[in-house]
């Protein structure tokens, strides 16, 4: 069991500085924006009774600013803020270790500021602790849009037990890619591209993509998952994923937002549902495997690459559903005086 009212905070200092700012109209979510968002999360957490937050540390300026504010002379309506104290490598390993420390400390929820990649790293270490995600990347499908104050409230309601995590935080699906020594897990998509270099990482040109494996495909998202969404909508809770083979002869052509401000017309040669628990073999003989939109590793004709769909991902807090339940149950409502329906009177 977790301690009542303790929430972890993970904020990736490096998100949203990638090449999508050049090749598309990727957002500038600056360090100062991220600090501002963490402040709003803390305010939301405190408002529902969270009395302690545990933040990861980073060398990108977020935790340093937070420490200044939390220990500064201006009193704020925040939980006490503690920090995961460890040596930093300035890599994803910092996030993994921080999340492990938060889980060991008994947090009831973790708020994640980052993109699909950051959420994937948190997912590898958070176990059964529900996560609430805020998008600070350039091209995200996993985190839904929400005001950080409200995300803080929702995460706080789960962490304090005012809402039952089972009602608002369903288990996410994952795709696991295996090839030799390479093992990666995606929360949204795995793409097989014809690149011959990992280079700057991002995938932004659909003509380079040969196959796509999707955990979910929602029509209001951007990125590779939007290709599948316009052929067959697959919700996060559905017991299937989606497989797409791109190219010609096409069975369908879709026009989708592949990135922020970046539309693409994509030919789809084949698409099929992937049942939970099944493993597919990549058919493209060589290229690069991209995980959640980031190129991860190269493979050649002698390397077998498999992709498996499982329901073993993080429990993701649905902020919209959490707030609707909180409203319906009056969790944040205090009745003052005798309840009455206010009547509008019309005077002559």
């Amino acid at each position: 069991m977790h301690d009542v009212g303790v929430v972890g905070i993970v904020a990736n200092p490096s998100s949203a500085r990638d090449i999508r700012r050049l090749v598309a109209d990727g957002a500038f979510v600056t360090t100062n924006d991220k600090i501002n968002m963490v402040k709003r999360v803390l305010t939301g957490l405190h408002s529902v009774g969270v009395d302690r937050a545990i933040s990861m540390t980073d060398l990108g300026g977020i935790s340093a600013a937070l420490a200044d504010l939390a220990n500064g002379p201006t009193s704020r309506a925040w939980p006490r803020v503690d920090f995961v104290d460890r040596d930093l490598s300035q890599s994803a390993a910092d996030t993994t270790a921080a999340v492990e420390a938060m889980v060991a400390a008994g947090v009831g929820a973790i708020v994640v500021l980052g993109g699909d990649g950051t959420n994937g790293v948190v997912a590898s270490a958070c176990g059964d602790v529900p996560i609430a995600s805020i998008s600070t990347g350039t091209n995200n499908a996993f985190p839904r849009s929400a005001e950080p104050t409200v995300v803080g409230i929702a995460a706080g309601l789960v962490a304090t037990g005012l809402l039952d995590a089972d009602e608002v935080a369903a288990r996410s699906k994952t795709l696991t890619v295996l090839s030799g020594r390479h093992r990666h897990r995606a929360l949204v998509d795995v793409a097989i591209t014809t690149h011959d270099t990992v280079a700057s990482g991002a995938v932004w040109d659909s003509s380079t993509v040969r196959e796509v494996f999707l955990c979910f495909a929602e029509p209001d998202r951007i990125g590779l998952s939007s290709i599948g969404a316009h052929l067959r909508t697959v919700r996060r809770a559905d017991p299937v994923g989606l497989y797409l083979r791109l190219g010609t002869p096409a069975v369908a052509a879709v026009r989708v937002p592949l990135g922020p401000g970046l539309m693409a017309d994509v030919d789809v040669a084949e698409f099929a549902e992937i049942p939970l628990g099944s493993t597919l073999t990549v058919r493209t003989p060589s290229g690069v495997v991209a995980v959640d939109g980031e190129r991860a590793f190269r493979f050649g004709p002698s390397d077998a690459v498999t992709v498996s769909l499982a329901a073993d991902g993080p429990r993701a807090i649905d902020v919209e559903r959490a707030m609707e339940l909180a409203s319906a149950r009056g969790v944040l409502t205090r009745t003052v005086g005798r309840p009455q329906q206010h009547q509008i009177s019309h005077q002559q």
């Binding site: 200092p13 700012r21 050049l22 360090t31 300026g61 280079a199 700057s200």
Partner: protein, 325 residues
Amino acid sequence: MNPLNRLDLYKQMVRIRQYESRILQEYHADKKPAWDIGAGLIPGEMHLSAGQEPSAVGVCANLKQGDAITAPHRPHHFALAHGVDMNAMTAEIYGRDTGLCRGKGGHMHLFDPENHFSCSGIIAQGYPVACGQAMAFKRKGTDHVAVAVAGEGAANQGAFHESLNLASLWKLPVIFVIEDNDWAISVPRSHSTANASNADRASGYGMPGVRIENNDVEAVFEAAGVAIDRARAGGGPSLIEIHTLRLWGHFEGDAQAYRGADLDTLDARDPIPLYAATLAEIGDLSMDQVASIAADAAAEVDAAITFATSSPFPTADDALLHVFA
């Protein structure tokens, strides 16, 4: 965007490293007393670029003849990657009459009008120069670009901000390259800069800004290629911050006592062996090639040093010639 040629990228990085390694030897060879920077074969301060090869090579592989570069006080890697003649550059560093500036500039003042290459020891002052070059390209109607290079410490200078502002206002074909090697001489960024990334500062001037991690030449090549193509097509300026690595001191003779544990992991982060291992793994580089590429680079550098050391010094009679532009 130019096609990716991994072997060319590797060869250029090895060539630059060989150059810096030999200059390092030569600089210290005859410097007696050691504290007199005017003594020895190469007079003056020396700022070498070992470890920062990926930024110069990745950027310059996307440039063409006629494009311009302004480099800072640590200029050799960009000069060589941009095609500045190694003999004339070396003669300049040795203070010889056959040098780029007839031996009067030294290693921080390499001016090559033919290749539109210049550098300056005055921090951040290459930024406005690059804007001027870019404005000239634009007014002439060419598709040339100007690349302004400086370190992360230079981005706190007023000239940096003034240049970004004008470049964006006038949509100039300029690419601002920031080499973040973690140290502004001895000052870490956390002690000098309110922003965690200079890439974020671009947003204040309405231009794209990206940060390239891992000192990866292919990632630099790709991002610079996109930024340069965008500028050539009239899309305006952009900023690329490259997280690179200063393998050696700020200047030769710098004991680097301020660096602490950062020094312990330098060998493991050296980008050239790392890239060689990557190329070997994918079958693009054999052990024989590693040896022959190193030998070719050594021969070229030795010839340039021989050219420099056998060249005459400027005479006293020439002291007042060519000192005004």
